[in-house]
């Protein structure tokens, strides 16, 4: 029996509550949903990456973001907006090998996705105030998870990839006859670019680089402005992360479908 006069000593027990959690709400739903979406994306992008076909609609200048930039000799010429300086690669190096490590690394080390997969796929923890199944936990203090600190480098590279995506998207205002034209694909590709831009601009590393690292905002008025702007986007980072995941899949799927001839592009003009 504890009395009011008991004094604290070391290592005293916690309340003996056996239940792993006493939560009564549907705490399983969010991690399961997010986990399913992440797995879907992983499977879809892997399949598409090694497909090596249906990634470009030459007539209208549509190129899937998963293969851009396409710099290898064996790329379809219409897909190579930046030339083909690199030799053809053996089958196990996919055409998207330039961009894939960048975007995969960017999303893998992203603070939002880390939360998402630590919860959904690694159950660490699966939901708040639910006991996690792991015996030991060292977080991001050692290899390999200490590499999560490389996020900002992927951010720098992803900013370049975003510029390439914009460049690709500028090629989509083209009709079959080579003059100005627009179709549903143009719209889809631009929506995707916007989602990617939102995702990249709201990144925590971006917020830090543009102003977050400063101690004295008052001495850097321009960077302070940038920081304020990014800080407005930043709370929606998770939203952009999920939206851009879907838009990338949708864009790629649309281009695959049009390119494979499953249906034809809906043209607005030309």
């Amino acid at each position: 029996m504890t009395t009011t006069a008991m004094r604290p000593s070391k290592a005293r027990p916690r309340a003996a509550i056996a239940a792993k959690t006493l939560r009564t709400d549907k705490w399983r739903t969010p991690p399961l949903t997010i986990g399913a979406i992440l797995l879907l994306f992983i499977v879809y992008s892997t399949v598409r990456l090694f497909m090596g076909r249906y990634y470009v609609v030459g007539d209208y200048g549509y190129l899937t973001p998963l293969y851009s930039p396409c710099l290898f000799k064996d790329c379809v010429p219409a897909a190579s907006h930046f030339g083909q300086p690199l030799p053809a690669m053996p089958f196990f190096i996919p055409l998207g090998a330039i961009v894939f490590p960048v975007v995969a690394g960017f999303r893998l080390t992203c603070y939002y996705y880390r939360k998402a997969y630590y919860r959904s796929l690694w159950l660490s923890p699966q939901a708040c105030a639910v006991q996690e199944p792991h015996k030991k936990y060292t977080g991001e203090t050692r290899f390999p998870l200490i590499l999560q600190n490389s996020h900002r480098f992927f951010f720098y590279l992803a900013a370049v990839v975003l510029a390439i995506n914009v460049w690709d998207a500028l090629h989509t205002f083209r009709g079959a006859d080579g003059h100005f034209g627009m179709g549903l694909g143009t719209l889809i590709i631009w929506i995707n670019v916007l989602a990617l831009a939102g995702y990249t601009a709201s990144c925590h590393a971006c917020r830090h680089a543009f102003g977050g690292k400063l101690k004295h905002f008052s001495k850097h008025p321009l960077r302070y402005r940038m920081w304020v702007l990014i800080s407005k986007l930043n709370p929606k980072h998770g939203f952009y992360a999920m939206v851009s995941l879907w838009t990338v899949m949708a864009t790629d799927f649309y281009i695959m479908a049009v390119s494979a001839g499953w249906f034809s592009d809906l043209r607005f003009f030309n």
């Binding site: 006069a5 009564t24 923890p125 977080g139």
Partner: protein, 327 residues
């Protein structure tokens, strides 16, 4: 609103269980009201901690239906009529009794964190700061030290062994507050956060942000910026090169980085009471094993003072010793 069903954890370090109760609930009441009604009508010795009943003192942290909450800010109207409401003590800290836990861990961690270091050559009273420079830190000053974030954090909630190495989200916001403070002179806060506070243990799963009753964006505005600042210092070759070229590294160490660090293992003298501490004495229990705490039948105005009944307040000033080894 009628009679509602409750389960409340009763017990202490020796063990305990969830006990069922049926309690009257009225319009507009919060969970803390119900705990008080339980005390008044059925369980006079039910222990709970509270103070302001306004969500501002951070005393009444418990877990309600498994979720860490302030019991004074959880309205009964948020539950279904037929729902059994479960109230348990916060789990991460040692239990004292019923809903009261010993949160000393947090005060130890607070003591370990180096305090604000004033800039050289500026007298107190002459501190001048621009609003935009202090804005970010001000968010963190809203903290009411309810320790719900510390309680929910899986790093220590599920892994007791991490406690020595990990300070927890409440102190990460403190670290961020001081690192972003325009006048703080210490240069080693990033290193301190990483090496001594265990910032790397956090895997930014955001439970602390989810439970914070002050809605402080702990993860987005404190932990992640601190992680990025650590990367600046430690892992970013560009920044490292810049520092070497512009010789900014020589500024570091302007403040001796060993000053102001206190560790849990170091003996801490605390308050010197000016006399021997009273020996622990067991409380008097009634026949039913409960403490006799109703004022009507009690032979004294309140429970015994934990300092001993012969202690006079205020304490004799010459005996006082708020000792900190830097001061």
């Amino acid at each position: 609103m009628g009679i509602r069903k409750f389960r409340v954890w009763r017990g202490d370090a020796a063990g305990g269980e969830l006990k069922h109760y049926e309690v009257e609930v009225n319009e507009g009441e919060v969970v803390l009201d119900i705990v008080h009604r339980l005390q008044a009508t059925q369980e006079p010795d039910l222990a709970c901690r509270w103070n302001c009943k306004a969500g501002k003192c951070g005393s009444c942290s418990v877990e309600i239906n498994g979720k860490p909450r302030l019991s004074c800010m959880t309205r009964m109207s948020t539950f279904e009529e037929d729902e059994t409401v479960t109230v348990t003590p916060i789990r991460t800290f040692p239990i004292i009794r019923d809903l009261v836990t010993d949160v000393a861990f947090n005060y130890t961690k607070a003591r370990e964190t180096p305090a604000f270091a004033p800039p050289e050559g500026v007298a107190p009273g002459d501190y001048r700061m621009q609003q935009i420079d202090v804005e970010r830190s001000q968010e963190f000053r809203k903290c009411i030290e309810c320790f719900l974030c510390q309680n929910v954090c899986h790093v220590i909630r599920d892994h007791e062994e991490n406690k020595p190495a990990f300070s927890g989200p409440r102190f990460f916001i403190r670290a961020a507050e001081l690192d972003m403070h325009p006048l703080d002179a210490r240069e080693d806060r990033k290193a301190y956060a990483q090496e001594d506070m265990g910032l790397g243990y956090c895997n930014i799963t955001k439970c602390c942000t989810e439970v914070c009753p002050e809605h402080i964006k702990i993860t987005d505005n404190a932990i992640i910026p601190m992680k990025e600042r650590v990367v600046d210092r430690k892992y970013d070759p560009l920044v490292w090169l810049g520092r070497k070229i512009f010789r900014r590294d020589q500024l570091e160490g302007a403040v001796d980085s060993s000053v102001g660090r206190v560790h849990a293992e170091e003996p801490h003298e605390g308050v010197h009471w000016g006399r021997p501490k009273p020996a622990p004495q067991a409380a008097a229990l009634g026949e039913d094993g409960h403490m006799d705490l109703t004022e009507l039948t009690f032979n004294r105005p309140a429970a015994a003072s934990p300092f001993g009944d012969d202690q006079e307040f205020p304490l004799p000033p010459e005996g006082l010793n708020y000792h900190h080894k830097d001061r």
